[in-house]
Each structure stands twice: as C-alpha cells, then as structure tokens.
Symmetry: D2
Subunit: 442 residues, 4 copies
C-alpha cells in the first residue's frame, strides 16, 4: 500500500496546554523536555503494539468486528495483507512519534499450513520490518511468540500435558528471539496466557510447575548461546483466559524464579489491568518488583474498577500514573524497558483518528505523571517523611536487630526489664495524600 491509510492525520506535534480543544496534538508530551536530567522520551520509552492496534477487528464475546481494517479482508492473499498491515502500522508509529513498537510472531506474519511455512512467512516479514525500521527510525521494544491463540495451545504451551506441544512452543520462541535479536529488540517477553489450568480435577500442579521451570531455563540458555543482549521479561496475569494462570502476580513469579534459580535471568513486565485483576494496585506491583530488584518493563493501560475482565482501556488517570511513575523513579527508572500501550479502542471508536486520540491522550497522561513524579522526588516530601518514620532502624536497637545482634531472648529481656512502651505515631496518611494532591494541582 503505497498510499496512506491515515491520510487525515499529519505527524502529531506538540501544541501545548492552551491549544484549541479540537486540536489533535500533544498538550504535555515533549520528547526533548528534560526531567530530572533526562529527556522525557528516554524516561518513558513509549511503544505502540501491533496486536490490539492492528490485529483486533473491534469484536468482542458478543459481537463482530466494527473497525475498518482492509488488511483483515477475508479471501485476500495473506502475505499481501500482512505487508499492507506493516505499511499501515509504520505509518501510524511514525505519525504518532513513538520511538518503539512491539509484536508477536502471529501479529506480523500469518500462520502457515505447517511450521516451516509459518517460519518462512515470519522471516519474510521480519525482513520487511527491518526495512521499515530503518526508514522510520522506529525501534523494537520487544518481540514475543504467540503461544496461546492456536488450538494446539489450548492446554498450555510449556505446561501442556503433551510434550510435543512444549516442543512446538520452544521452536517458536527460538525463532522469535532470534528475530528480535536481528531487529535490535531491547527485550524479549513471555506471557503465559495458557500456562495455568481450567480445573484442578485434570491438573498435576507440580508437574506443570516443573515443565514451566524447564521451559524458562531453556529460554535463558538460548539467550546466552546466541548472545542476545536484551532483557528477558515475564508478564504476570492472574486469570483470563484460564481460571488460574501460574504467573499470577509479581509475588508468584518471584517465588517461581527463586525455585528454578532464575532470578538473575528474568525481570517482570507489569500491566496495569493485570495487576488490578489480581487484586493489587499498579503502584503496588511496581513497588514490589522494585523492592525485589526485578522490575523490567510496563504495559500501560487501565481496567474498569467495576468490571472483572481485562478491558485494556487506554490509561487516562494522572492520579494513578503519578504514583506509578514515582515508584519507577524511586527504583532508578526503566532500563531496557518502556511504556508499551497494551490498550485497545472501545468497540464504538470507529474513526481512524480515534486511534490517535487514544494514544496521544495516553502519552500526555504519562508525560504529565512523569513531571508530577519528578516534583515528588525533587521536593522529597514523601521520602523525607518516610525516612524520618523509619529512622529508629538506622541506629541503636534497630540497627542491632537488623544486623542479627539481637535474639528473641535478648529482646524479651529488654522488654521484661520494663520502660518500653512504644507510643504510636501518626502515619500521616491524609496529610501525605494532600501533599500529593497539591503537587497534582501545581
């Protein structure tokens, strides 16, 4: 497709907060603006995704696709359509101005009649993508293999009762990791959408756990073998489509990584809506990953607080994202990771420009949140309070306990001898919440 799909839209530019409400442009996001000594673009490392944005037709469980997607026309030549999709995708990435994109093998190249054909199709499309990347300067945040869509994976890939399915998944991962390496990808992601169970009645949990451990070990070994320098990432989700997914949240993955001695090999890719489905806030999951040293990358979207499935809406809460970014900055920032928009339009958003409205709004939300978070960091409001709150642990009895110089017995003696009656001190929650709000309304 040499002509443009988004012909009504020019490259998105910065228009500022006071621009006409109808203007389609960034009101906050300025790639070169410096925040805490680093370019905004380098903090946020935005990425658009292939799947929701170009592979989802606007259908849902109860209805057909609503979106205009000529590259999904039935009856056409699949590879011609895949090239058309690639053209449109890179037109979009370029006009939007995201520095990165992400893909699954089956997003970018249609599955063939057999593995060999699927692989050949992927190779052809990777070549084409490489050319597009060179042409547009868009880079690859991460690649991944789709080990959940095909019926062969209905009972899992790594955790399938059939080892030949494990083998099939292993083959796909090898291929896509090498494709990712070829495209200079900064990370390689694993999301185990089918690595869980529908019912414990037919499931051997221990065996499936060991299978998953084996699979992840093989992936790490292959990374070293081929010298891929990106980060390996695992993405947690508690359920949907399965009843229970083994990688349910940061804590579950951390347990798993320790059990199979993989803590040095993997980091975590946290998605907002997956966190909330797990009954955790996004901020909590980031803070937990930072506390364990395993934060990798972020999937930016939002769920619906009243609904219980993955709605994958675009992020639009500066209040929520400011706290998330505060934890990221406290943890030293994203290294090879980024903010990938794992988000999709609402089914009624049928105008081609809606895709731009959605991404532009989300980028502005994150840009504003970054600026807010930087203020929180710089003015040390929260950190000062926290440091003061725990200062008892930096010396005296606290330091002795931390250093292993006290026992239950010695502490018991201390308490028994009397005089210790610790007095509660205000946690200051409401005051701190006001401080954050004051920053938000700066």
């Amino acid at each position: 497709m040499s002509s443009s799909f988004f012909s009504d839209v020019d490259a998105i530019s910065f228009v500022g907060r006071d621009a006409d409400p109808d203007a389609l442009g960034f009101r906050v996001y300025e790639p070169d603006r410096m925040v805490l000594g680093k370019r905004m673009e380098d903090h946020l490392r935005f990425s658009a995704c292939y799947w929701h944005t170009f592979c989802w037709p606007g259908d849902d469980v109860f209805g057909d696709g609503t979106l205009d997607r000529p590259w999904q026309a039935s009856g056409g030549d699949p590879m011609a359509l895949a090239h058309m999709k690639l053209d449109v995708a890179f037109e979009f990435f370029s006009k939007l101005g995201v520095p990165f994109f992400c893909f699954h093998d089956r997003d970018i190249a249609p599955e063939g009649d057999n593995y060999r054909e699927s692989a050949a199709r992927l190779d052809e499309m990777i070549d084409a993508a490489a050319a597009k990347m060179e042409e547009t300067d868009v880079q690859l945040l991460w690649g991944t293999a789709n080990l959940f869509g095909h019926p062969r994976y209905a009972a899992g890939a790594a955790t399938n009762p059939d080892p030949y399915v494990f083998a099939y998944g292993a083959a796909q991962v090898k291929h896509v990791m090498e494709a990712t390496q070829r495209l200079g990808g900064a990370n390689y992601v694993l999301w185990g959408g089918r690595e869980g169970y529908e019912t414990l009645l037919n499931t051997d949990l221990r065996r499936e756990s060991d299978q998953l451990g084996r699979f992840l070990s093989l992936v790490a070994e292959h990374k070293h073998k081929i010298g891929f320098e990106g980060t390996l990432l695992i993405e947690p989700k508690p359920h949907e489509p399965t009843k229970h997914q083994y990688d349910s949240d940061v804590a579950a993955i951390y347990a798993f990584l320790q059990k199979y001695d993989l803590t040095d090999e993997y980091r975590i890719n946290i998605e907002v809506n997956h966190a909330t489905l797990a009954g955790k806030s996004f901020q909590h999951e980031i803070a937990t990953a930072v506390a364990h040293g395993i934060l990798g990358s972020l999937d930016a979207n939002r769920g619906d607080p009243q609904n219980g499935w993955d709605t994958d809406q675009f992020p639009n809460s500066v209040e929520e994202m400011t706290l998330a970014l505060y934890e990221v900055l406290r943890g030293g920032g994203l290294s090879t990771g980024g903010f990938n928009f794992d988000a999709r339009l609402r089914r009624q958003s049928v105008d081609p420009t809606d895709l731009f409205h959605a991404h532009v709004g989300a980028m502005d939300v994150l840009a504003e949140s970054l600026i807010n978070a930087a203020v929180l960091i710089e003015d040390s409001t929260l950190k000062g309070f926290v440091d003061d709150r725990y200062k008892g642990w930096t010396g005296g009895l606290g330091a002795e306990i931390a250093a292993g110089k006290q026992s239950l017995e010695s502490l018991h003696a201390l308490v028994t001898e009397g005089g210790i009656e610790p007095k509660p001190r205000s946690g200051g929650q409401e005051m701190l919440e006001n401080r954050v709000n004051a920053v938000l309304r700066r």
Copy 2:
C-alpha cells in the same frame, strides 16, 4: 465457675444420618471410624478456637455484642473472668469432643498494665490450662501471640517503623512459644494481621520485608534453641485489616521464605476465607502448598461469595470441602496440622446451643468430605485420568526434555523437520465433574 454454662447440652454423641432432625449429635463424624486405614479423628485433628468462640461478644462494625458472655462482664476482676472463661471453654471442648484447641496469649489472659504483669497473667493461665488439659484430655493444636490488637501494633509488629515495637512483639512470641511448648502444642502459628501497609505513601517496602525476614529468622532460631518440636506455621491473608498484608497468599509466602532462606523452617496454615479474599479457591491454595511441600495446617471456615470481607462462617459445603480434602490426602495428609474452626456464629445466633450446632454441623461436613475424598482416592478416577493425560512426559521426548537433554535448538530442529502437529485432546472437565458428583451422591 463450678457450675456448667452449657447445662442444656450433654456430651455430643454419634446419632447417625437417620436421626431425628431435632437431635443434636453427629450424623457423620465418628472418631474411630477407619478411613484409608486411619481413624477419622486422626485424619481431621479438629480444633476449636478460643477467640471467636469465647472472646468475641457478637459485635460488628455497626453494632454491639449480642451474645451472653458472663466472662466479659464489665467491671469484674479480669483474672477471675479469665478463669471463668477457661472453665467454660474446656466444658465446651469436652462436650463437643474436639481433640484440640488453639489460643492467642491475649485470648487466654488479659493484657496487664505492663509487660511484666501481662506475662505473669499468662503464666498463671497457662498453669490453669495445663490442669484443664490433663483433666479433659484436650490437646493444644497451636498457640500464637496476638501482635495486632493493641494500639502499639497499629503500624505492624515485625514491620513497625519503631524497632521497640519489634522488640515488644519478639518478647511476646518468645513467651507464647515457650508456653505452647509447655502445653505440648503441636504447632506454633504466626499471623501478621498488621504486617502490611495502609498506604504506600508512608511505607518502605524493602525495609519492612527485611524486618519481617529478620523476625521470622529469630523465631526459627529460638525454636531450635529451646528444642520446641512443633511446626512453625505462617497464615496467609491478603488484606483486612490492612490494605495489603505481606503474607497475602501461599505464593507470596513461598517467595518470602525462599528469599530469607526459611523454606525448611515454616509451613503454611491456610484458611478458607483468606484464600477466597485473595481471589483463590481453598483447593487451589492447598494444592499449591502441597506442590511446593509447604502445607502445614488448615483453618476451616467459609466466606460469603458475594461479600468482600472475612465473614468467618462455619464451613457447610461438602462439595467445597471434598475437593479440599482430596488435595490434602493426595499430599499425604496433615502431619502436625489439623482442622481448626476459625469460625464464628452469626450475630443473631444467641442461643448457647448455637455454638454446638455450628461446630457439630461443621465437623459432619468435614467428616463427610473426608469419606468422599477417600472414595476419590481409592477409585483412582481422577488420578487415572490425570496420569494418562500426562503420560507423554514419562518417557520419550517428554522425559528427555524433563531431564535437560533437549534445548530450544534441538526442539526447533525437531519441529522444523516436520510431522509434528499435536492434536488437542479433551480435558474431560465436565465428565470429571460428573464423576465427582457421582461420588458425592453415592
């Protein structure tokens, strides 16, 4: 109190399934009945708890106590009331016929004006409990220290910002563990109701995690020092009263135990309603603990599937408990653990006999569930299906993968060379569910 509190109730005996509906007796539970070669009582190891049963007055967030609890009369001598409570409790344990009970230090002995007085009171009551235990043959399943009720623990015990609170908690644990040892307790439990946060704004997650690790290490060291032979147990709960509790579920605790090298020291005490608050089924949590080798003991109750707090109702679903007991039996049964009724009456259940109805019904539910689970084990219906489902992993390619003899590269070659197109096989979920139902309606 020399006279009886439950004067309307005789010792509960077995009356059988066909007894008069008004009869208060066991319709299923027979301590000596053999199930899979072991006495029912030895499988289930029932325990009644002190707190809900004798310390809770029938109040809730919106209303005052409704229950007749003379030992909670205001204005009386606290130690005289504590002895009255002990008498009533052991009258209840005896008449009910539970082999075990459980307690917190503050359940059995009221807190004094200072630590020394509190400790002396506890010692006095432990002496009295020892005499009661000898008199009634009721044993101690576990003891525990209440590190959550007093205002000093509002911001946590082990994870408090103030190291003197850590010390205070440590002193209590030392004392109660030794009291538990003295009473021949089979386990010592830690539930960290305040070991979490209300807001991340004032919280240092990494530091609090390390504090908790230190605390648990000290407890394990002390156990060895005094030669306590019971099992150390941690009880997960995701939230309530805190926004987030660090011991949120089995996976989170397993991560924690590995991080602080404590997997050999602690096992897990799983509560039904805590599991469901964490978004997991009770069966899931048991199966997960069994898969990791860390199942310890069980708190039997139930939540309300439509409400989001800890309702702590008595278990009454044979369907739910059959699957739970199936996992327990598959995992080799409870060792030092048992089924403790961490359950309370509804606030309107104001008759003294209601306490018996509640426990008797719950014991029958678990007894029936045990019998059902034993049938599932004996007829191998489920296991046969599962073994067959995974048989590809017991030889050939599966065994090679498991043994580390395959790599991504070798598997990729295998798949590429063709001929591998795994065909999905029915997971048989509906059929297996019917099999379980057939056992339930045996």
Copy 3:
C-alpha cells in the same frame, strides 16, 4: 446431513446411581418420576440452547475455535450449513431427551446481505425447524432476536442514539416473535446485551431509559395484536459486554417495569452467572422475583467464584441448585418457563461426547436438587421455623401495624410508656444450615 454427527452416542437413558462410572446415562433424572405430585420433566422443563451448543466454535478472547463444527466450515453455502446445523441440533436434542430448545434468529439462520434476505432465510429455517419439531417432539421454550452481535448494534438497539437502529431492532423482534408464535413457543425473551453504556461521557441516561421503555411497550402491544400467548421475558445482566447494562438485576428491572407501567406484561428470566456478576446469589434473585410476582424462567449455568466474567459453565452444584429450586417451588413453580442450559463446554472439551456429559450431568444436578427441594418443602423444616419467627405479625400489635392502624405517634406512646424491651431471639442460621445439609445427605 443424513448421517449422524453423534454416531457414538445412543439416546440417553436412565441408568441409576449405581451404574458403572463410565456409563453415559442419567443417574437421577427420570422424566416420569413424580415429585410433589408432578412429573419431574414438567417441573424442570429442560431446554438446550442453539448458540453455545451449536454456534460457538470453542474460541475465546485469546484463541481460535477448538471444536469440530463442520457446519461452521469457511467457504460453504451458508444455508446448506444452516440446514446441517439444524439436523445436528435436533439429533442432539432427541438423543439427550430435552423437551425444549431455544434460539436466536441469527443462530438458526445466517444474516443475509440485507434485511429482506435475512428475513427470507429465517423463514426458510423456521419451516425446517417446524418439520424437525414435529418429527422429534421437541418443543420451543423461547425464541429471541439477536440485537447485539452486528456492528449496527454496537451502541445498543432500543437505546441506540440512531432511531434507525431502533427500527431495525423492532423489525427483527416482530419477525422473531411471529416465528416463535408459529413454532408454538412458550415464551419470548429479550436480552439487552448492548442496552447500556460504555461511558457516561457520551450517554444521555434519561433518554435511553425512555427509548427502552418505548421499545418494550411496542413489543407488548404487538404480542397482544397477534395474539401470542407466550410470556414475555427480560433477562438481567449487569455488564459484559457493556460497562453497565440497564437491565442489571431483578430490582433494576422491577424499577423499570413499574416506571413504564409494564409489570403485567413482562416476567424475568434469571441466569445464575448473571446474578453472581451482579453481586447477588441465584437464590436471592429468584426469591426477589418471587416476592414481586415476576419470576418467569431460568437460565441454568454457573460462574467461577474467583473470576469476574461470564464463564457460562454447566451447573454442577446440588448445594446451590437445591436452594434455588426451593425458592422456585415456594413460588409455585415455573409456569411457562423452564431451565434452559445457557452454558457452554470448556474450550478443551473437544470430544463430541463432551456435549452429552455436560448436559447429562447438569440435568442430574437439577433433578437431584428438585428432589431435595421437595423434601425441604414436605418436611416444612424451614417454613416452620420462618412462620414461627414472624408469628408476631399475624396478630396483636404486628397485625395492627400491617393494617395501618398504628402511627409513629401511637407507637412512640407505646414505647414511652415502658415495658417494651424486645429480646433478640436466635436466628438459628447454623442449625438451619445443618438441616439443609441433612436433607442433602439423606
């Protein structure tokens, strides 16, 4: 298709509780067995549905269809495939022995290029269905129009901002109601899957409410005009696919029917999983509909208590369904309604026999629940307790209050003059739960 699709399965017969576990047959359900003076079949009025059972290919949000459905082959003649599907469906209904089936217009006949073609196709298939019904004696529980799948309905049918969509939906309903009448359908159902909103930002709630009121009024008027003698039913669901659906639960529909003066025209079709998504138990929704005199029919399935979307699994809990059937029997039973299996296989249940396992198991669960509920009715255990509990309202002060003979003033005088200090009486919850369990383990 003249040959059989389910060639491995014979007509399902009663085999009894002690049959071989591998036997595929009813262990409980006997159509002619008398329960409370009525045939089991006439109590339960089972119905199988067209959509999940024959139109769903086994796909989900993350994966493709897994089921063998030759009538969904791509590229075939749509009407030839529709006839093949009809043959298979009636083979299934017959072999299973359900007295009823249900359908949407788009289930039974594919949408054409324009309304006229769609209508002609539907007429052709209705003719074919009439012949099949005569041949097999399977009857129609209800018909309905699919006003949610096509993109034109993305923003609702009755509540669409575009009145031409309202008109389109009205046309479909007219046609399907007449088709339902022709097939002797006992009810006509409306489920408003898109009658709700995605965001309040673009929604005029009051206007949409009035549109829906208008639509339902037109439907009722047409029913009378054509002399359709079946019952009009509305099916509640709180959300999914929309963020919020106006017909969210029984109470919301009752408010709506009163507002638009439609309480005499409509009754409610309650689905288990929709009730639980609304935060209500199935028993609650039935009891509420009975209390208001608006119970119509039931969709039997189950949700997953840990997941937040419509899993539509087959019912398998006798405990849950016994209480549901108890409320149904208390309310006088289902009149024109029935138990329709709005349930689907798990995606891994790929054997053709799995469809039989699922339905047979579910029918047995409901049959057993019916028998249990009848025992509860006959022995008056619950009713006796309840009648006694409220007996104060049948005479004396209670009757005076109920009859409007007391005012706040007179009651205030009564209380002020003293002597009234009502004493709580046990609600007996645990005891009653035990009674129910005793019936279940009869």
Copy 4:
C-alpha cells in the same frame, strides 16, 4: 470543657495553591467564590459528621481504639462526657468552617437504661446543640436515628420478625425527626443497616418488604403531620453489616419507592463507598438518581478499589469527583442536600491535627472538582457531543417513535422496504476522555 481540645489549630483559612506545603489551610476552597453564579459554599453545602469524627475510637475488627478521645473515657458520667464531646465537636466545626453537621441520636446522647431515659438524654443534648448552633452559626444538614447498633436491632428495625422492635424503631424515628425539625435540619435520613438478611433460610422476603414499606409510609405521614419541611432521604448500601441490604442501590430503592407509592416522599442520599460496594461508580449512581428525579444528598468518602468493605476514607480524587459534580450540576445541583463527610481517619492518624488535614484536603478536592465541573458545563464540550449524538431523536423517525406513532409493524415495514442500513458512528470515548483531562490540567 471550656478549654480547647484542638488548641494547636486556628480557624482554617484560605491560603491558596502556592502556599507553603506545610501550611494547614484551604488551597482551593473559598466559600464566597462564585461558580456558575452561585457561592461555592452554597453549591457544596459541606457537612461534618458526628459518628466517625467524634464517636469512633480508632478501633477495627482486629484491634482496639488508637485515638485520643477523652470523652470516651471509661467510667465517667455519660452525660458529662456527651457534653464534652459536643463542645469538642462544635469547636471542630467552627474551626474547620463547615456550614453544616449531621448526627444520629446515639452519637449525641448515650442510650439510657430504658427508652424514657434515652429520650430525656437526647432532649437535653438537643437543647445543648441548639445553643451551640446559635453560638457558632453551624447548621444541621440532617439528623437520623441509629436503628442498627443495639442488639435489639440485630434482625432489623422495620424488617424485624418482632413487631415490638418495629415499634421501638418507630418511636426513635419520631423523636429524632422532631429533634431535627427543632434544630432546623434541612433533611431527615434513613439508613437501614440491618434492614436485610443474613440468610434466606430464615427470611420471608415479601413480608419484610411490606414491613419496610409500612415503616417508610409512617415516617412520611408523620413528616406531614408535624409540618417538617426538610427532605426525607434514604441511603443505599448493598451489604455490610448484613449479607444483603434491601436498599442496595439507587435502582433497588427506586423499585421500592414505586411499589409503595413513595416516589414523591423520598429522595436518595448516595455515598461513594456504598456505590462502589454495589459494583457501581459514584457517577453512575448520581446520574441514575438524576435521571429518575430522586437525587437528594451525597456522602463524600472513598473506598479502596482492591478491598471489599466500607473503608470510608476521605475523598481525594479530583478525577472521580469532577465527574460526580458534573452530574450534580447537570441535574440542577443539590437542593436541600449537601456533601457530608461520612469518612474517617486511618487508624494510625493519631494526631489531633490529622482530623483537620483530612477534612481540609477533602474540601479542597471537592472545591477543585466543582470548578472543573463548571468548566465542563460552560464549554459544553460533553453536552455538545451528546446532543449531536442523539439528534436523530429530536425529529423525523425518532420523534415519531418517541411519540408513540410507530409500531413494530410499521417499523418492520420500513426496514423491509429496504434502504435502511444504519452505519455506526464513533462514540468518541477516548477523545472525550482527553477533553475531560484537558479541563483537569487547565
């Protein structure tokens, strides 16, 4: 208590957005600032409550009170303590600068040994409150009777199985409504915390519904009899403390009011956290009440999106409250209602100033939200889009349908004759969300 309890705090004044972060003052709220032609204070009509703020000691289900509340000292004279509490409360109201307060009878005056004594105590305290109100110019937003705390109400007040409890509740309501009238209260509220059930096994839903209808009718009759000119309000909540509360949400109350012909007598008092417990957003509940013409007043607080009980935290989200206020303004504003802070401190917020931080922050959040909502109203961004979206209903076919001039038959004819193929139009959700965000970051 003649001396001051909050001696560290002066009357709160406006300090502006740029004030020192440590300053305790309003950064946004200015009572006299005009918004849409009305004073901010008159829009928001802030009220502080007696119960959480002065009656809650800082306890929770697992722990004792943490707050310094001298008026809750055990052993003191109850009426002396009640007067002390009144002094502190009015000191607080005055210093904070809220124009209104709210109370339950049992908040302001302790229950006596019998009804007569309780009534006399209430009268004494109402006298004292009247004096305080005159002295401080603080007015009464609403009064209410506590029909849920005492054990006599464990099974409900209006819906109690015992008519003498109904009578007791009726007496209390009469007294408090008259007290409210005497204090010039703008509304009288009913919250039926116990008007629900714990289990359907012991409950007669229809009877309890009629009892509640009778009770509310008596209350309305008494209002007219005494000429009370305030508004009667009902406050919805779905559960907690009961399993199910009849007044579960706006829709359920609307159904109820219609059934008992009370729609002209009652309006609704919506609480944020009650809405979210019911699975609805606050905005939804307000918009629904406005659409039905039954919006009365608002309880401002917030829940925790990850926890399932009533956390009653202070509101702190401008994003959430802007949309709520937008609906309020669209609905014509609050008439006799107001924003009452039904919110409590966190248990660790033990400093006396924390109470000020909490309220000041919340008032600023609502003031900022009001300003934002006014911008949304003034620039017609949302309304313009919505009006345009539904414009098809203002003439032509839409108007004919709305006016009852079309039937299913006429619409069917229209569609059949062809040419109608409605095309979906973008719902513009992402674009509208961006517009709202642009207003928020103005």
